[in-house]
């Protein structure tokens, strides 16, 4: 029996998970259209590679990743691209972003795809395939998985697979583990190999006994060694990556530190599942499990195509007429969705239909009475009341001193606050203000550098000009002096001499310009150069293979 650790604080909100776990995962019918945002991941928005009017197949790439921190986007079914434009997306801002709209043709016709033999494929190729398949973290952070599977030469001891799912109402991971445990476990094993991790620890909250049993069975059947399914106490936010790492390994990961540096990495169960499907079956990330619950008649989990309009999905669960808001995610950390037309994204784990009865409007915030209940429950061991105080008065330097960036925005502090202060909003406000200042600072530094360089250049040009002028004057003076001294030299002579001199100079320059370091080489050096050339050729080949996917980044 492994000893588990505890993190500080935590809360026990009512879980509301039973409603949506009564029926198995349901397949959704093809929606009338798909609105697929091109920015469904952390990092640069994918670049559209299809045209309006083009017919696309299921699994066809419609957005290629741009830059290192990015991921691909695919068509979730076959059909016609009808628009590539700005549409409302699931984002806190309620602002539109670039989306591809596809009207399905009903045939659901797959593009040619097949899995790879994982044991025969190099790790860098596997990572490349993950990137091409658009696999991102499905726990909510949507960080590109190909980057997370690179340990950066750190020795990874534990791979933590996160099945805690601590937030109320959400049951998508629970149902996935109950029904598709085998693929999850195989995916976990695959991730372990990519990271060269010693052990796999699968953490599941103890309020999901069916999921725990299913995962146990899957591990036993596949005979994975050094892979453990661990039941962790139900406590919000034990499903936070840092908190689960702490519970299972006792390691604390500070803000700004990669968990790989501490010898541990964490993936969500759904990410493990998707990674397995992508590599072993060649299926890109086209659908995900979404819990639809709250103010609905039949709360349940659906296997939803990415891009399915929200309205069509909630209608399947029987959204009641008094629904006034749609919340994406859980009640603690969720996002209010701006409209019913937005498409389901890779980050959508749950849709809670909200009514005034279910989530009554928050009473007005009262002054902070410094009861420090927030500090008691803060899983990051911060002083939320101080952070609030400084964020409120725009004292951002102090918020950073009080480790604002260790805050995971779990909302436990706001949950217990007797004054109903929207604490997390204050932290987010402070964080985004600090980020903006950093951006401005960087821009200012760049502008300063460019301005200084420009001045330097102007000054240099001026000096060079002055020097040239002086040189000319000197030459003229010298010539005049010479002419005065040797009036007998015929003009033919001097010209001949000048031409000869110029020829000699040109020759010398040609000799100097010729690269001389490749002529006298030892055999070892020649061999090395040949090897480098071969590697280059292979990389070129790989790039060509990847298609448009890996165009060289645009130069700035």
């Amino acid at each position: 029996m492994r000893t588990l650790f505890a993190f500080h604080g935590g809360v026990h909100p009512p879980t509301h998970k039973e409603e949506s776990t009564r029926t198995p995962i349901a397949q959704t019918p093809l929606p009338s259209k798909l609105v697929i945002p091109l920015s469904q991941h952390v990092g640069n928005r994918a670049v559209p590679i299809v045209q309006v009017g083009e017919r696309v197949l299921k699994g066809q790439k419609i957005g290629r990743p741009e830059g290192k921190l990015s991921s691909a986007v695919h068509a979730s079914t076959s059909g016609t691209v009808t628009a590539i434009d700005m549409q409302l997306v699931a984002h806190h801002s309620g602002l539109p972003d670039l989306c591809v709209t596809i009207v399905p043709d009903g045939k659901d016709e797959w593009i040619a795809h097949r899995g790879v033999d994982i044991s025969q494929t190099s790790h860098s190729d596997l990572r490349h395939l993950l990137r091409k398949a658009g696999v991102v973290g499905l726990g909510g952070a949507v960080f590109p998985s190909d980057l997370k599977t690179d340990a950066h030469h750190h020795k990874i001891k534990s791979l933590v697979i996160n099945g805690a799912e601590c937030e109320p109402y959400i049951t998508c991971d629970d149902m996935l583990m109950r029904e598709r445990a085998t693929d999850i476990v195989r995916g976990a094993n695959l991730l372990r190999e990519l990271l060269h991790a010693e052990e796999v620890l699968i953490g599941i909250e103890d309020n999901k006994p069916e999921a725990i049993a299913a995962m146990h069975l899957a591990v036993e059947q596949d005979k994975h060694d050094k892979m453990e399914v661990l039941s962790v106490p139900t406590m919000y936010p034990s499903g936070g990556a840092k908190q689960l790492i702490r519970i299972l390994t006792g390691i604390e990961v500070a803000a700004g530190v990669r968990s790989t540096e501490m010898g541990v990495q964490c993936f969500n169960v759904a990410t493990a599942y998707t990674a397995w499907r992508a590599l072993a079956h060649g299926e890109p990330l086209l659908s995900r499990i979404v819990t639809v619950t709250g103010n609905v008649t039949d709360a349940q989990n659906f296997d939803v195509l990415i891009g399915t309009p929200l309205e069509e999905l909630v209608a399947l669960a029987g959204s009641k007429p008094d629904t006034d808001r749609h919340i994406m995610g859980g009640p603690m950390m969720g996002v209010d969705l701006p409209a019913g037309t937005i498409g389901i994204t890779k980050a959508t784990n749950c849709i809670i239909e909200s009514s005034p009865k279910l989530f009554p409007p928050q009473p007005p915030a009262l002054p902070c009475i410094r009861c420090t209940r927030c500090a008691d429950v803060c899983p990051a061991e911060l002083q939320p009341q101080d952070l609030y105080w400084f964020a409120k008065s725009n004292n951002f330097g102090k918020t950073e001193e009080f480790h604002l960036f260790d805050c995971i925005e779990c909302g436990a502090c706001a949950y217990v606050c007797p004054s109903n202060i929207p604490l997390v909003q204050y932290y987010r406000y402070a964080k985004s203000e600090i980020h903006e200042r950093e951006r401005d600072k960087k821009a200012a530094d760049l502008a300063r550098e460019r301005h200084e360089y420009r001045q330097l250049r102007i000054e240099r040009d001026k000096q060079e000009k002055a020097e040239k002028l002086a040189q000319k004057e000197r030459e003229a003076a010298a010539k005049a002096a010479q002419a005065a001294a040797t009036p007998v030299a015929t003009p033919d002579d001097t010209q001949q001499k000048l031409i000869e001199e110029a020829l000699a100079r040109a020759k010398a320059q040609a000799a100097a310009a010729h690269p001389q370091n490749t002529e006298t080489l030892t055999p070892e050096q020649s061999a090395e150069i040949a090897a480098i050339e071969a590697r280059r050729a292979k990389i070129r080949e790989m790039a060509a293979d990847a298609g448009a996917d890996d165009e060289p980044p645009k130069s700035h």
Binding site: D97, D336, L358, Y415, Q425, S432, A447, H451, R454
Partner: protein, 183 residues
Amino acid sequence: MISALWVMIGISLLLGAVLGYSAIKFKVEGNPLVEKIDAVLPQTQCGQCGYPGCKPYAEAIAKGEIGINKCPPGGEEGIQKLADLLGVEFQPFGEGAGPKGKAVAFIDEQTCIGCTLCIQACPVDAIAGAAKQMHTIIASECTGCELCLPPCPVDCITMESIEENITNWKWRHPVIIPIKAVA
């Protein structure tokens, strides 16, 4: 009486000698203050302060020649930072001299005649082009200083304000939204 005079003269001479010596001993070259002021300024190099660039303005502030409220791109926050740095009172912007929204220059490429005048005016080399070739603004390097507007003989440069979008969106100072579920 004479002794009192002697005492005071003695004290003064002694202190004068010590201070004179330490003035030589602790001499500081340059003014580190200029660097600090320059670091606070937004580096748009726009010249709205009346000085040719941010550094000269910083030098003028350090010498006390000019107020700290002459930099509209820095905003009121910039003034506050300068006030904190220099230990002086906050001064508001003068009438009609407040900051404008952020913007970048845009060249109408149909109208541009390729005269290179704007390239010479740009303080941060954010305009690419050559004589008789169409010019274009490198938007990521443009500080929005508007110095390229006056020299253009065909008025083909306009300032485009930067709209709020999903990448530069910021959280506002909190509004209340319910986050607490009723059991």
